[in-house]
């Protein structure tokens, strides 16, 4: 079997982690389908992961048996919905090891969380001349909100450079830090390169000069164990849809004292204590930041996604994905003319690559014809692409339900692309 042959090709020996792949794959109904006449191979997991049946059932179950508006009703369903909603908050608190449930604020996603911090914390506490540090490998979601703030307040944006492997130059970062540094906002795991950044160290160094730190965890939560207290970050933002959960919901973690000092940034129902036309007093954390009827169903189903991940075990998932990464790195490198972009020592299961003389869009189109879904383009990281002097890459990103056989399909697919375009 080709699979076996490749398995033996891996140069270093290590034990291949054991997960019940048959069970896992059958948990994801979407995987079992034919696309363009071929079995679907889904390698666009960094964009969004698929959802296990358990999450889909939790969503449907909520609408079938529980649906009501929360926090204000006095009837049975309203109490049930509120209880499930708040149970999700505690589940997520536990998942990221936050000190308090009210440090978990429900948002629409990572982007929404970063905007909340830039608009509420940034506009209140940052002033002209203050410096905000981000990095070269940020997603546009962690660039544009800060640019908007800088434009409004006259703050200065500074950018941590990277090396050719796609790793932050920590020396340069340290040189940038000064009493002018008021905020640092850095991605935990790069969506375009897969690099895992040394965020604990980044946070520690920033705190030494009194700056606050936000970590963009969009790509980290499905791969890495997150402990916000151990990291000591001031904010941590992520999206559930990249964590086997529903779309349209995310989490902003913030330290209680900082969140309490921040003004609300959207006004409306739910976030108030008392409203008169003369003066409105605001509700407490976390409701102060959750104006309007939240995305109740998706929040409720989110805890099922977290349970799913924790039942498999974060460590087992990480080990297995690491195996996929090594396997794929080796297999893809064997294709002549293929170059991997992003070769950091610490990486999650994301591989960006270029093929000599072939436009990434052509690769994407021709793989799609073979039932293989990858991402092509700039991955919402245009400044990073500029750093590498390329317009974009092709990116295959792996989740826990992917297999080495699927990677073999990708390799065969790419060889076909090469043949057709050569």
């Amino acid at each position: 079997m080709q699979y076996q042959a490749r398995e033996n090709m891996i140069s270093e020996t290590y034990t291949i982690p054991q997960l019940d792949m048959g069970q896992i794959r059958s948990d994801f109904p979407i995987l079992d389908q034919i696309v363009n006449g071929k079995p679907l191979v889904y390698f666009d997991n960094a964009a969004t992961t698929q959802k296990p049946r358990q999450v889909i059932e939790a969503l449907a179950g909520y609408y079938e048996r529980t649906n009501a508006n929360i926090h204000r009703g006095i009837h049975h369903l309203a109490e049930k919905a509120t209880a499930e909603f708040e149970a999700s908050r505690r589940r997520i608190q536990n998942f990221i090891n936050a000190r308090l449930p009210e440090e978990v604020i429900f948002t629409y996603g990572t982007t929404d969380g970063i905007n909340l911090v830039a608009q509420s914390y940034g506009r209140t506490f940052l002033q002209e001349g203050d410096e905000i540090i981000i990095s070269t490998m940020e997603h546009h979601s962690n660039i544009v909100p800060w640019q908007m703030l800088c434009e409004e307040k006259g703050c200065v944006l500074r950018i941590i450079p990277i090396n050719d492997a796609g790793e932050l130059l920590m020396d340069e970062y340290e040189k940038m830090l000064s009493e002018k540094t008021k905020f640092v906002s850095v991605v935990h795991v790069s969506n375009a390169l897969g690099t895992i950044n040394p965020v604990a160290e980044i946070i520690k160094k920033a705190h030494e000069v009194g700056a606050k730190v936000l970590i963009d965890g969009a790509q980290a939560t499905s791969h890495i164990d997150i402990d916000v207290q151990a990291l000591d970050c001031d904010f941590y933002a992520f999206s559930l849809h990249k964590l086997y959960g529903p779309t349209g919901m995310g989490v902003l973690y913030g330290k209680e004292a900082i969140l309490n000092a921040m003004p609300p940034y959207r006004g409306g129902g739910e976030m108030i204590k008392e409203v008169t036309f003369e003066k409105t007093t605001y509700n407490e954390l976390p409701y102060k930041f959750e104006a309007g009827t939240p995305n109740i169903a998706d929040v409720v189903a989110a805890k099922t996604a977290i349970n799913y991940v924790e039942n498999l075990g974060k460590e087992a998932i990480a080990d297995y994905e690491h195996h996929l990464l090594r396997y794929a790195t080796e297999a893809l490198s064997s294709i002549e003319g293929l170059k991997i972009v992003g070769t950091a020592k610490e990486k999650v299961s994301v591989i960006s690559f270029l093929m000599d003389g072939i436009h990434h869009q052509d690769i994407g189109v021709l793989l799609d014809q073979q039932g293989i879904a990858i991402r092509t383009g700039h991955h919402c990281t245009q400044p990073l692409m500029h750093r590498f002097g390329i317009p974009g890459t092709s990116r295959a990103s792996f989740a826990v339900y992917n297999t080495t056989e699927e990677i073999d399909h990708l390799v065969a697919g790419l060889l076909k692309v090469k043949k057709m375009l050569g």
């Binding site: 436009h359 990434h360 994407g364 383009g377 974009g392 057709m420 375009l421």
Partner: protein, 140 residues
Amino acid sequence: MTINETQDELIEDFALFDDWESKYEYIIDMGKQLAPLPEEFKTEENIIKGCQSRVWLHAETDGENVNFEADSDAIIVKGLVSMLVKVLSGHTAEQIAQADLYFMERIGLHQHLAQTRSNGLASMVKQMKTYGLAYQSLNS
């Protein structure tokens, strides 16, 4: 040949292919055969930006007919572009503005037109028609 005759001919050509490989090889071939757009026309003004690939479109009129030249940095898009040029080029502004482009759908390539943001192809069709309209109003 009229616009529709060219479209029908393309549909017939594609009917011969029974697998995706031959279909795409044909498109790739057409892309390779399309005369490269002279560098002087690869201007910022002529560029139609997609999210992923770029298309350049240059139009000229001899007073009666409108002629298009185009290019792209991705070869499949270039093949598709060459088909659009073949279909619309050399017709009057009015014919171009009013053309009903049905061949992409019939060939089963409409998903490429739907990918507005990624390949700029839909914007290119729009731009070709806009040239048609513009020249039409110039003529009248």
